[in-house]
Symmetry: C2
Subunit: 107 residues, 2 copies
């Protein structure tokens, strides 16, 4: 197995706005944001939505988003599911996430 089942996530109090902005400042990561923002409550499987990059690059971008506090990543059955940390981000930075989502270019 190449990845541990439980990956580290920052606590809400550890999430910093500069790191969130840095994590979101990339077109591929904004595509991931768009995907998780419209996902059902159980999240989306991390390998199962279209991205114009290979698997290792996808993993790299997901790690940056997770370590910045933008997404969670957890094993559910045989899949790794990712979710947007909307509640945490909205509590910490009111209006920021909606501002970014509104600013995304058309799908």
């Amino acid at each position: 197995m190449s990845e541990p089942e439980v990956l580290p996530h920052p606590d809400r109090a550890e999430i910093k706005v500069d790191q969130v902005l840095q994590a979101l400042g990339d077109p591929v990561r904004l595509e991931i944001l768009r995907a998780v923002a419209t996902a059902p409550p159980e999240g989306i499987a991390c390998g199962e939505f279209p991205l114009p990059v290979g698997k290792s690059t996808r993993t790299h971008h997901l790690r940056i988003l997770r370590e910045a506090g933008v997404i969670t990543s957890r094993i559910v059955g045989t899949r790794r599911m990712i979710n947007l940390r909307r509640e945490d981000l909205d509590a910490l930075f009111p209006g920021l996430l909606n501002g970014v989502l509104t600013a995304l270019p058309p799908d």
Copy 2:
């Protein structure tokens, strides 16, 4: 003279949200944002507000913000004045700038 009088600025239509987020994803550049966001209409002189970095690093950060379309930089008399492109950013990405400004840590 080490810098040309007129530095290049992207047109409004060239400003991209990923580049704006990338430019803002840095604690020093967020300090610059805070400074220009509260500046008078004539802007602030680029060397005359406190930043915890040296002159060449300050210039580097100002260039990143200018090239991403976050600030303008122009010569007025003997000073280089910088301004926030609030009108452009609000028109392109409604709510984004206010979301970032609200998220800034206390001064």
